[in-house]
């Protein structure tokens, strides 16, 4: 009990990164993740780590690339507009297979948008906002505890698969303080014989991105990446279910939306509607088979997002036409409400009953 | 010596005190009252001493002070 600390999501994540052995953190300030930057500025010296407030997000992500290539555990964080600027390096690091952790504490967009939390960067995170055929693992916590726990895991996953891992959380999660038990280091270690550390007593290590010669090297490299992504897809299946066993109505949501959807499930059940929640805690790879399985005994599915419909595509791809998939979302910093979710479901129930097809 | 009247728009004032700190005649002070935005505001304790130097007006970030110059016309 006394282990609990009241911590901001942002700070819980930052401290967890230090626990995970992150010793290189580079970032540029942006609301609503400034606490991560301030925390690192203050606490990196404690662990003899490096903190640099970079001249830009582009530079911050490039510094991460340099430290990651050197074999260090490196991280950056930002919020939506800043993450867009990091897509360059993410594409490079995915291509060069460099492990690192990038946190996006999402705010409302597009453009400068607003500073309230949102989930409008799902596509960017799961489809790669950068160019080329790459993927990054995308973890999706829904509270401060998970922000801490997932961060520790993220570093291991990054090292295990030599790939960038994104922590995708909305600004509410970053700003909110909740009770947290700080995680322990996992103790896992990873050899990095590929790191550039000086070609002493061995051949050169080279971390390339340009693959021109011979002509098919780039294709082979892409095939190698795809093969790795397939491996990741087989291995990482992360999700939680809530009262789905007997559910007729399935809700699908992640992050803050999932918290709200979970509350809606309870209320709906109070009203006699058997609802359940499927919450992916990893967005890529998306737990598609598991969702399809879960949905197989449901009559309808409602995806709830703080966006105008992004994860809903993965939900549709997962169920592949087996059941109808509806969507309810609010964007630009607004939150879905329990009331709206319930109203929407009851509305459907009603229209089904009267054989009116809702559009 | 010029003679001026500092016209302070109390609703616009944020109570930063820059005018007060820069008045060479020390005739500006913070009122013991707040405006409708909840801010203390500046008042002039003795307009007759104002030399219309404009220092207060120049420094005011909220353009809350206008200076009126009194001129003898004959």
């Amino acid at each position: 009990m006394t282990e609990y600390k009241l911590m901001k999501g942002n700070e819980a994540m930052a401290e967890a990164a230090l626990i995970a052995g992150c010793r290189y953190y580079y970032a540029y300030p942006i609301t609503p993740q400034n606490e991560v930057v301030a925390y690192m500025a203050k606490n990196m010296p404690r662990v003899n780590g490096t903190f640099i407030q970079a001249e830009s997000e582009l530079a911050a992500a490039s510094m991460v690339m340099g430290s990651a290539a050197s074999g260090g555990r490196a991280m950056t964080s930002s919020s939506s507009p800043g993450i867009t600027l990091k897509q360059e390096s993410i594409s490079y690091m995915a291509g060069a297979e460099l492990p690192c952790v990038i946190a996006n504490i999402m705010r409302g967009g597009p453009g400068l948008g607003g500073i309230a939390g949102a989930q409008g960067d799902y596509f960017q995170a799961t489809r790669g906002g950068g160019h080329g055929d790459y993927r990054t693992i995308v973890l999706a916590p829904d509270n401060a505890q998970e922000l801490a726990d997932f961060t520790v895991e993220a570093f291991d996953l990054a090292d295990e698969y030599r790939t960038p891992v994104i922590i995708l959380a909305d600004g509410y999660l970053g700003q909110m303080s909740e009770p947290v038990v700080l995680p322990k280091p996992t103790g896992k270690t990873f050899e990095k014989p590929w790191a550039v550390t000086g070609a002493k007593d061995r051949k050169q290590n080279i971390i390339v991105s340009l693959l021109l010669h011979p002509e098919n090297v780039l294709e082979l490299h892409n095939l190698h990446l795809q093969e790795k992504y397939e491996r990741i897809t087989q291995k990482i299946r992360r999700y939680e279910t809530y009262k789905t066993e007997d559910a007729d109505w399935l809700l699908a949501a992640y992050g803050t939306s999932a918290r709200i959807a979970q509350k809606a499930v309870d209320k709906l059940r109070e009203d006699g509607i058997k609802a359940g929640l499927f919450r992916p805690t990893c967005l890529w790879p998306f737990p598609d088979r598991e969702l399809a399985e879960c949905a197989s005994h449901c009559t309808r599915l409602l995806t709830v997002e703080m966006s105008h419909g992004q994860m809903v595509e993965d939900v549709k791809l997962a169920v592949n036409g087996a059941i109808e998939v509806d969507f309810y979302g609010r964007a630009g910093g607004a939150l879905p409400t329990v009331k709206d979710i319930i109203a929407r479901i009851k509305n459907y129930e009603h229209s089904e009953f009267t054989h009116v097809q809702a559009s | 010596m010029k003679q001026g009247i500092p016209e302070i728009d109390k609703e616009r004032c944020k109570g930063c005190g820059l005018c007060i700190a820069n008045c060479p005649k020390n005739i500006l002070e913070m009122a013991n009252d707040i405006n409708s935005f909840g801010a203390y505001y500046t008042i002039c304790s003795d307009e007759s001493q104002c030399i219309a130097c404009g220092a207060c007006s120049l420094m005011c970030p909220d353009a809350a002070i206008e200076i009126i110059l009194k001129r003898e016309v004959g």
């Binding site: 009990m1 609990y4 009241l6 609301t31 609503p32 500073i115 509410y172 700003q175 909110m176 303080s177 909740e178 009770p179 803050t256 918290r259 709200i260 979970q262 509350k263 939150l335 409400t337 329990v338 | 009252d33 707040i34 409708s36 935005f37 909840g38």
Partner: protein, 189 residues
Amino acid sequence: MNYPTEEIIIAGFGGQGILLAGRLLCVAAMRQGRQVSHIPSYGAEMRGGTANCSVVLSAERIASPVIDMATAVIALNGPSVAKFEPRVRPGGILIWNSSLCKKILPERTDIQSIAIPATELSLTEGTERAANMAAIGALMALKPKLMTENHFSAALDEVVSERNRRYNPVNLRIMQAGYEAALAIIKKN
């Protein structure tokens, strides 16, 4: 569990310890085994010197830290009364700092408006910075189930930085004064 969910907004200007007051409530409730969440207003909204935070205390998992209609609002200055009075749930509580709200007065009749001279109560101990404590004292009077004084004083020790911990006895006294002021009002009504 017989512990109703409380959704509390605390607002005032910068320097009044708004966020600290919110964290205090959270830590005290957390130590009593409650689920808690605390979220500040942030970013550009801070410009102009106002601050507010939202605190949710519950026996169950908290869905959203954002409060639509609050069970209680603490407003430590006039602009906060104006901004947050409309956000009190019908039947809810508004505790307002009558020391600083001379012009902007609460208007609603469907809520319980409690005027506490929080800044004055604080000044009796020689500081104007502990108005937040007086207001929290008042809240404890109005919501006796919220937390015990013991939990509160423990939370105070936990939340207040080491440097300032020596003021905690003063803080507790001001809180007590706020508590009593509120009790007096309730009894009068």
